[in-house]
Amino acid sequence: MEQVLNSIGNYLGLLFILLCLGLILYYFFSDGNQPKINLRDIQAFRHLRREVDLAVEAGKRLHISLGRGSINELQGGAAFIGLTILDRSARAASNSDRPPMATAGDGVLTILSQDTLQSTYRSLGTEQRYDPTNARMTGLNPLAYAAGAMPIIHDEYVSANFFTGHLGTEIALLTEAGERSGSLTVAGSDSLHAQAVLFTTSDEPLLGEELYAAGAYLGAGPAHIASLRSQDLLRWVLIGAIVIGAIIKLLGFLN
């Protein structure tokens, strides 16, 4: 099987990407005709939505941690999700006394989060509310980033923290700060060891792929729903590939 993959690997990879693209486009444009998909309930997103409202009510701040994964890295996906959540939160909390605050451990991500905030406020017609220091880079290596974000959680009237990006073990420092300051933590990461830490230390951990569904669950648009549906279909493609490949191998072909 793997020889096959290797031999036609490149084209197969391109095929897979094109399949994914095609599915997303199909679901994206056929979304109007078809009934909307039912998404399984993910408690973390339910609480995340409620926390946004509660924070606005209580005049508190939302802290969105975008992690330290540069968009130039493999973990960029998680960072992009973090930006989506930042956009949604900024919209929801646009009338709050304390606008949401974003922290990042990477230069590009910091600028992107500033852009996200600015364009969100612009689209809401409240650009004067935009303050570049609401999107901060708190440190350049993992522990420095976490250590720099801790005072924000402690001092900035944060009612809820969303850790949605590429983070590592250091995320435990952030969840600990969140617990000590009495703020809720909803957290997800693409890295498995961070997820393991979050499973024990976070109020609402997001496991694995769940983080990437944030856009769909927070109403970021039909494209996000469409990509979820395509993921659900590609899931079966992968399962089929694994099972068929295993059977073929077991029967001793392709060796």
Partner: protein, 207 residues
Amino acid sequence: MKKILPTSNAIIAVISGLLVLLGYFFPGVFGNIQSVLIGWAIILAAFALLLGIYNLALVHWKKAGAGGTNGINSIVLLVSLGITIIAASLSGPTGSLSVWIFNNFQVPVEISLLAVLAVVLVYAAARLLTRRPKWSTILFLVTVLIVLLGSVPLFFLGEVAPLVALRGWVTQVPAVAGGRGLLLGVALGTVATGIRILMGVDRPYGG
């Protein structure tokens, strides 16, 4: 103009992304373009990192102006930032002065932060069952205990062979299975996210 700008940004993102992507699958044709674009992106990432450090300094400059204990912390941060920059510039990143600062300021604090995490993690694990009384939590804790007990000869009991064997099996069979599933799931999500950007639907660049 207001309409054109975002669209043009999206077009830039899509085209540059497609060129790099095609470079992966058709190295012959697009390989050179890809490597050039990647080279640009690397340099740009460096510029972005400088912007990030400027942002860091700006934030703490404002805080320092505000005064209070946080102001003091910010001043300390700015001072150590400035001193490090000067010292490392004079002696070079691998100069003896840079290495001395690194060894005696950065290393102790980093290891100590991790050491603090040890207590944080064991504390969280100890109260996890109260926090989330579910079957999955129990399974989680059992796994943790098995791996811990199997990873080292116990001080009073010595090496417990069955535990070591069990740990080996758990880490090599079920954990590998779950890990693969998680990795594949994350990869699926990543691909979908990337494609949304290349479609120009997601525009984190504020388009």
